[in-house]
Point group: C2
Chain length 117, copies 2
């Protein structure tokens, strides 16, 4: 079953963990429309600010968002490139399904082709 | 930030949790090439059978694989439809980014168009 615990595997683990929460997915969806302050984001979430900050940290530590502090305001911004890792992983799965379908087709059609000759 | 804890959110949480592990992703990759018995899958994983079975159960309970027992052999099969949920979620994010780019373009180009007239 190939390699375990490569660097990419570690990164993918973190990205999928970060995506496995409705609050964090809601933050990503909101940031897709443009940067926002932690205060504004938190005001829309049904939880305390410390609880919300934990979600922000999970998203930031796994590279899905970037944050920057100016004075007392911390602004969050989406890191779109990180989503490409998930795209790539999904594409890799679909390619292997396509390969299998191709092999099955060759297996099924080849004997029939021979009979025709 | 819209709805929290919808049914779809619960399903997506589980799917992303299931994907957040290199052993489980390796099983999905292997099953992309066709069904396989738990015994064969486990023989390629560097862990005990009980530990491996936990991963199989996480994949099955979150709908990414189906398993069926015939005699003493349990066979696993990929449930490709479940991957569409992740595709849809990613597409939804990208659509919101595209909407934002469109709005920015309209904002930037509209005053210039007026000047030309």
């Amino acid at each position: 079953m190939a390699q375990y615990s490569t660097v990419l595997d570690g990164v993918l683990d973190g990205v999928f963990v970060a995506l496995a929460d409705p609050t964090r997915r809601a933050v990503l969806r909101r940031l897709g429309r443009g940067p926002a302050s932690v205060g504004d984001l938190a005001s829309e979430a049904p939880m305390t600010l410390p609880s919300f900050m934990k979600h922000v940290r999970v998203l930031e530590s796994n590279g899905l968002i970037r944050t920057a502090k100016s004075g007392r305001v911390r602004t969050c911004e989406l890191n779109r490139e990180r989503f490409a890792l998930v795209d790539d992983w999904l594409a890799e799965q679909r390619n292997s399904w396509a390969d299998r379908t191709d092999r099955l087709e060759r297996f099924v059609t080849t004997p029939q082709e021979k009979e025709k000759q």
